[in-house]
Each structure stands twice: as structure tokens, then as C-alpha cells.
Symmetry: C2
Subunit: 116 residues, 2 copies
């Protein structure tokens, strides 16, 4: 069995790129941080608030997300939405994702003979 650290590093590397895809995809409608966190977790995406919130700020500073405060409730919430630029990035990442899926399936099979 590989040491847990080695394994964890490979898994982290594998997840990192797809996380941006999941976040941009989820924010095609406006959502505040905590609601987004719940959606990702419901979809078995293993992410915590202290990873997601910095990522949201980074994507906003890269102009892939826009944000708006909703102050109509007693607790103000910051809603994020994917920008036009973010949609273009999302589109290209989804294309690449599809290509990678085809490549991996061609190389590794569809899962029946995994790891043999």
C-alpha cells in the first residue's frame, strides 16, 4: 500500500483542476458561499470552507466571478455569479474535460479492468 501522504498528494492534484470547473459550473446562477459549499458537498466534492472561500476570492480577482451583496435579509450575504469571462473559461475547461475523459477511457478502459 502506498503511504497515505503520497496517495493524498496524487488525489489532491487530480481534484484541484476539476474544482474550478465545479465552482464555475455551480455559479451559473448566483449563490452565496455557504449555499455553494453545500451544493458541492452534496455532489460528493470534498471541499471545506477554508479552501472554497479563498478560491472564490481568487476567481473574483481573476474576473471570472462577479459578486453582489444582498442586504435585504438580517444577515447580509455575498452572492457570486460567473462573469462573461468566467463562462468562456468554463466552456474551454469543459471541452478539455471531455477530451481528457475520452483519453483516459481509451487508455484505462471504462472501469472494468481498472488497475490490472
Amino acid at each position: 500500500m502506498p503511504e497515505n501522504d503520497t496517495m493524498q498528494n496524487f488525489l489532491t492534484e487530480l481534484r484541484r483542476g476539476s474544482l474550478t470547473l465545479a465552482v464555475l459550473g455551480s455559479l451559473r446562477e448566483p449563490r452565496y458561499g455557504y449555499a455553494l459549499l453545500q451544493i458541492l458537498q452534496e455532489q460528493q466534492i470534498d471541499i471545506e470552507a477554508n479552501t472554497l472561500y479563498p478560491l472564490l476570492r481568487r476567481l473574483e480577482s481573476q474576473e471570472l466571478l462577479t459578486s453582489d451583496w444582498d442586504t435585504s435579509e438580517s444577515r447580509p450575504r455575498k452572492y457570486y455569479t460567473v462573469s462573461a469571462k468566467g463562462k468562456e473559461v468554463l466552456r474551454q475547461l469543459l471541452t478539455e474535460w471531455g477530451n481528457m475523459q475520452r483519453s483516459i477511457e481509451a487508455i484505462c478502459g471504462k472501469g472494468e479492468d481498472n488497475g490490472k
Copy 2:
């Protein structure tokens, strides 16, 4: 349109994790570097020798690959094969890959409404 650099960084991040998967999957049978490079390129995996060869050495030092020199030809070739430990990593990465695929599809759709 996003600047090319931003886009390129996202694509690189997305590809990086899946590359290990593709390399381990391809080396379930022994192959030498150049033959592996051709297989990956045939599967539209965009990788160059100066990325692949250091990756092979890294995976070998992590004991996920073993190597053997074939000196029977005029030009000796180093053949790489996935080790038992490498197979276990491959198995776990493929499981994670399948999970990520389901999550991304649930969030982004199967491609019909990409980027909308």
C-alpha cells in the same frame, strides 16, 4: 476573452492530475519512453518529452514504476512498468476520477448546455 496565460494556467492545472493516471494506465504493460510518448499523443494527450521523462523518473523514485534495460537491440532501451504500489495508486485514482466525472456531470450537465 480571458488572457491566454490565465486560460493556459487553468488548463495546465486540469491536465496535470490526469496525466499521472494516463501514464500509470499506459504502463500496465512495459513500454519505453518514446513508445509511451507516442501512445499518449495518439490519445490526444498533449505532452512533450521534456515533461514526460522527468515524470517517469519521479514516478520511479516514488516506487510506482519499475524499470528494466533491454540491451538486446543495438540501441538499449529502458522499459517502464507499473509496480504493485503503482497499481494501487492507479486503482484509487481511477475511482476518484469516476467520482469526479459524476460530480462534474451533475453540476455542469453532459455538455449540451456548457457555459450557459
